[in-house]
Symmetry: C2
Subunit: 253 residues, 2 copies
């Protein structure tokens, strides 16, 4: 199996948007962009000089890879339309096992782990987790990944699923807490920018080792007076309950 | 009231360690460092060319400011030993109202908002929240703060207490989640460094506006299949419960 030079992108969501453009900029030919919505397919295809298509029977059969950038629930179905293609069929999901693609001949996973909402994504720093149903398939996907990023890893489906949970905790859940902190500031006419350095420093420290070693605050030092005061200060019952629950969890360590 | 040039530091914890040195480097004279433990007082005092003391009756009376870098619960008691001093008595706590110092003549708050555990602290970027019992006292504390940082704010005790809750949520709680993500990776032989870019990017985005606008993940898109799968993958019952609880909270927005 040679290296991947011609890619078809299936999907018109955030991952398709950023990944197709990153591949295009890296000199990979994007032959087609598939989207059920014709206008979206056209918009996505234009940016990477690809052919927009909206029907599976228009798919080229000679792309080196078909990257499914679609909802988890649609992966098996879309893959079933790709049984006759010659190239590698790979999905880009964090939580779907590679084996849902097992009816294809060469298949794998090409999972870029980053939060893709809005803003420009610099892929150089985005970890890409690869898996293939054979050594050559995995190697081909990893080579493609190295065209975009310095951070390419081979991990199993089981590991990737655990990693996805960890990513949800480290990204979605912390972002939710940042949003709660923002709301608290806004309600009390406190500029949220006061918290910016703390937020950035917390993240920086988390990259230095085991974050548990940097745990500070009233919970870990069992400062019950402050905890009680904080619970009194929180007017939103749901947030109060969450405060109590996370505090309990920190203290249980 | 003139500007603060001579400071006595009371306390030998993290805040005392970093704040005394930052003031020292900024050219403020640290006259004394008070610590009940003589060895610690000596260690802290030496670094900033100050006199170490361990008894309140040895405190100089002519410092311009006495900064209480001590546990919240001790502030009122220690302040009571400072009734006869000439300078401003200020505590450095996020959660204690200024009025616990009301038996002193000039008093206020000088609260540096950052996580001080270990690592070197660059105060330039540390927000310092000031409050004073009079305009001149507040101005003097703010001037002192500007010697260390570009980010100096005047906020009330009520605001500071809310801010402290927000800081606990944005720092301690998110760090706990990072620690959980770390543990999940470690248990599954996944290099935690894979998550570093995501963690740093999540923090960066939180500084761009309202983090709620950047919320992604299975919870906010009501992807119940992934949520159920994640709950199954989590072996620790406490973490599973926390996952469910934060997910519920995100979905309730």
């Amino acid at each position: 199996m040679g290296s991947i030079k011609k890619v078809a992108i299936l999907g018109t969501g955030n991952v398709a948007w950023h990944l197709s453009f990153a591949l295009f900029k890296a000199g990979i030919e994007i032959v087609q962009v598939f989207g059920r919505n014709e206008e979206r397919a056209k918009k996505y295809a234009q940016r990477v000089l690809a052919e927009p298509i909206s029907h599976y029977n228009n798919l080229v059969e000679d792309a080196d890879a078909y990257l499914l950038c679609i909802n988890d629930t649609n992966i098996a179905e879309v893959a079933s339309y790709l049984k006759n293609v010659g190239g590698i069929v790979a999905h880009t999901s964090g939580s779907v096992p590679m084996e849902v693609l097992k009816d294809n001949s060469d298949y794998g996973v090409f999972y870029p782990l980053q939060t893709f909402k809005d803003s420009e994504v610099n892929f150089e720093n985005v970890p890409i987790l690869c898996e293939g149903n054979s050594g050559p398939t995995e190697a081909a996907l990893m080579s493609l990944a190295f065209e975009l990023s310095q951070r390419v890893y081979s991990i199993t489906s089981a590991q990737r699923q655990k990693l996805h949970v960890a990513a949800v905790i480290a990204n979605n859940f912390t972002n939710f807490l940042f949003a709660k902190a923002f709301a608290l500031c806004q309600e009390n006419n406190i500029p949220f920018e006061i918290l910016h350095p703390l937020i950035v420093e917390t993240a920086r420290k988390a990259t230095l080792g085991n974050p548990a070693d940097y745990q500070t605050g009233p919970a870990v030092r069992h400062d019950e007076a402050t905890i009680v005061k904080h619970l009194e200060l929180l007017e939103d019952p749901a947030l109060r309950e969450l405060y109590a629950s996370i505090t309990k969890n920190i203290q249980a360590e």
